[in-house]
């Protein structure tokens, strides 16, 4: 009986240690952290430095409307007033969820670096996927490496994604306006989403295809295609150019 009980006790303890989760919540309650292990260091000048590991680490700033998930996150936050993230680097597979007034944006990449400012920025590495959602539509973008500019705060307009630039083989799938289930799929070498100007621009051997419910056909081998979006972020038209017509 003793021979069985001891290893069992060790295993239970090991499991408990492995599952041990530490959480951190700042005084204002706007920054919460959930990790398996980590370091939280209060620094001078109203700053806090966090080095976190977990499966995954979940770092949430309600002031920024941002949640970062990654196996490892290093973060600097400003604790003056309500805590905000100043800079955060996530590695080992990052998921960033940005919340905004009428939607949200989920960004996944191999790793990413977030920098706060008037126009918060995420620099993304490796395989990138951005799912840009509002109450009326979902736009999905994939590529390799790029940047995403976010709306500041948690109450920004739309999905919270202001602009994004991706390189590598890129793909965008967006809703076509005035259709029931019509979707436009465009691929190319580079992509820029501009939710302020309401356009998605693809360059480099661009193909654009509409699905069965769409009213657009197939467009092949253009140098440039601009998906023009309406105020809801749905595709209203596609402008393409090729050769000297650019």
């Amino acid at each position: 009986m003793k021979r069985v009980a001891l290893p069992l006790l060790v295993a239970v303890c090991a499991l408990a240690i492995a599952r041990q989760v530490f959480t951190y919540r700042d005084k204002s309650g706007s920054l919460t952290v959930r990790a398996r292990s980590g370091l939280v260091e209060q620094q001078a000048n109203n700053r806090v430095h966090l080095e976190l590991r977990g499966s995954p680490v979940v770092l949430t700033s309600s002031t920024d409307g941002l949640t970062l998930n990654a196996p490892a996150i290093v973060c600097d936050a400003i604790t003056k007033g309500k805590t905000t993230i100043e800079k955060a680097v996530g590695t080992g597979g990052l998921t960033a969820l940005k919340s905004a007034a009428s939607g949200n944006t989920t960004i996944t990449s191999s790793s990413g670096s977030y920098t706060a400012g008037a126009q918060p920025k995420l620099i993304l590495s490796g395989s990138v996927k951005i799912v840009d959602r509002t109450t009326t539509r979902t736009t999905t973008i994939t590529g390799r490496n790029g940047t995403a500019l976010l709306e500041p705060g948690s109450k920004g307009p739309g999905s919270g994604l202001r602009r994004a630039t991706l390189s590598g083989p890129v793909r965008v799938e967006a809703v076509q306006q005035n259709t029931t289930g019509g979707r436009i799929i465009a691929t190319g070498s580079r992509l820029e989403v501009d939710n302020v100007a309401h356009v998605v621009t693809l360059t480099g051997n661009v193909n654009v295809t509409g699905n069965q419910a769409s009213t657009l056909g197939e467009l092949h081998g253009a140098d440039k295609a601009v998906l023009v979006l309406n105020s809801k972020g749905e595709v209203s038209s596609v402008r393409v150019s090729q050769g000297a017509s650019q």
Partner: protein, 277 residues
């Protein structure tokens, strides 16, 4: 030891050439295709596509309209019908313009070719119009196989400028509707009717004029020739030559001449009766 035939070595090259010869599709939806544009810009919207570009040559095809066009440049719009087929609404074509319209209706297959250096096409789902300010040739060939008499008919007209309207798609009757050509105009009509029993009746008509107007949309169908008209005709019942200021040829449903009115001064007509067959 396996010996490969020399022909096998050339197979990849043949395949590669085959791919190279394929048309390059710029845009396609349902039965509408824009191809071989070297320079191309377009705006795709729910109701159709606005396009502009150049090619050597570029191609535009609308199967619902029976239209195939090649040219060196095009600037126009194609509209998507509720049934998802496309028709050309307005397109300006330049440089070796070759327009082909194919129609099938009531057992009659008609292929109409229009050649010009500059052409303006306007149309709807059921009707098309071409306008050319440069020399143009219209060549319309019809064959009727499901009816008696079976027939074949070729109308060729060439002028320095002009317009023509056509029925689009598979409408019954002759697709050519109305038109006008400014001179010098040359024209010809070849009609062969084969009645039951296999006897063919051939009518040939050709001539010149300063102006040619045709109206096949209303009955009686007419071809009106104006100014320095010369016509040479040979038919199953009569043959002859006409030189006059104005000639109006009245045609039946198969566009076979049934009456010729000659007016003006001077007018010279020489008719001879063909021997009965």
């Amino acid at each position: 030891m396996i010996r490969r035939s020399p022909w096998l070595w050339s197979l990849p090259a043949v395949v590669a050439l085959g791919f190279a010869a394929q048309a390059r599709i710029n845009y396609r939806d349902q039965d509408f295709t824009l191809r071989d544009f070297d320079n191309f810009s377009a705006t795709l919207e729910s109701d159709g596509i606005t396009f502009k570009g150049t090619g050597n040559p570029l191609g535009i095809e609308s199967k619902a309209s029976g239209l195939v066009i090649t040219a060196k440049s095009a600037d126009g719009k194609a509209v998507r019908s509720p049934d998802k087929s496309y028709f050309l609404q307005d397109v300006v074509l330049n440089g070796d313009v070759h327009l082909q319209m194919s129609q099938l209706g009531n057992g009659t297959a008609t292929v109409t070719l229009v050649d010009s250096d500059a052409l303006h096409y306007t149309g709807s789902a059921s009707q098309g119009r071409i306008d050319s300010a440069t020399p143009l040739t219209i060549n319309s060939s019809s064959t009727g196989t499901g009816i008696v008499p079976t027939f074949s008919r070729t109308i060729i007209a060439h002028g320095s400028r002009g317009f023509a309207t056509f029925a689009i798609g598979n409408a019954p009757g002759n697709p050519m509707r109305t038109g006008e050509m400014a001179g010098p105009v040359t024209f010809s009509l070849h009609l062969s009717n084969t009645r039951a029993g296999g006897v063919a009746e051939v009518t040939d008509l050709e001539g010149k004029a300063d102006q040619l107007t045709f109206d096949f949309a209303t009955d009686p169908k007419t071809v009106t020739l104006t100014g320095n008209v010369t016509v040479t005709g040979k038919g199953p019942t009569a043959s002859g030559d006409i030189a006059a200021e104005n000639v109006v040829v009245t045609l039946d449903a198969q566009l076979q001449p049934i009456k010729v009115d000659v007016t003006g001064s001077p007018a010279k007509t020489r008719l001879r009766q063909e021997p009965p067959r």
